[in-house]
Symmetry: C2
Subunit: 120 residues, 2 copies
Amino acid sequence: MNTRIPILKLGNCLLISIQWELDDQTALQFQEDLLHRIYETGANGVVIDLTSLDVIDSFIAKVLGDVINMSKLMGAKVVLTGIQPAVAITLIELGIQLEGVQTALDLEKGLETLRRELGE
Amino acid sequence: MNTRIPILKLGNCLLISIQWELDDQTALQFQEDLLHRIYETGANGVVIDLTSLDVIDSFIAKVLGDVINMSKLMGAKVVLTGIQPAVAITLIELGIQLEGVQTALDLEKGLETLRRELGE
């Protein structure tokens, strides 16, 4: 059974779309996979698209906050796209630190934001 | 458990990366999801990236051939990227019809090919 989230590489950016509620194991596997791909590819930008995600539970929100900070540590800028109201509420209420994380409406705008930030 | 393949929308193209061997159920679900997304979004291009796929079994090869032909029927051009040797061998040996399907080295080149084909 495949319970991993594919990570797409487009130029020097990685694209991830989380389209269904993750279970805890999948979320942790995603964290590991993403950091590994950043290291392996030397990507300097990451877009995580949450458009199709209606809700997010506290564990997944924490993993998401962590993976964003870890990615930044590894030198990759992160843009979050398509955050729905309930997801925004959960992230803020849980005090997830998303300082310095850009957001955008959709994947395309996220990629534009990232390329602008990276000065391309 | 999530055993679906995320389909990313970038402009008027859909991007799919198949990174692990699919089981039969996931492959059929993917076929249904992709056709539904083409209809829903009006996408006129699809890039299916197989870079991380080492091998492909005959059932999955058939589903892949089918979904490409179905997408074309629905008006979307398909580009396959990152086909590895063993995958190419399986597709040809099984006589999977991939007429008129463009291929490219990686996701980025696939997207370029598609945009050129679509006259953008």
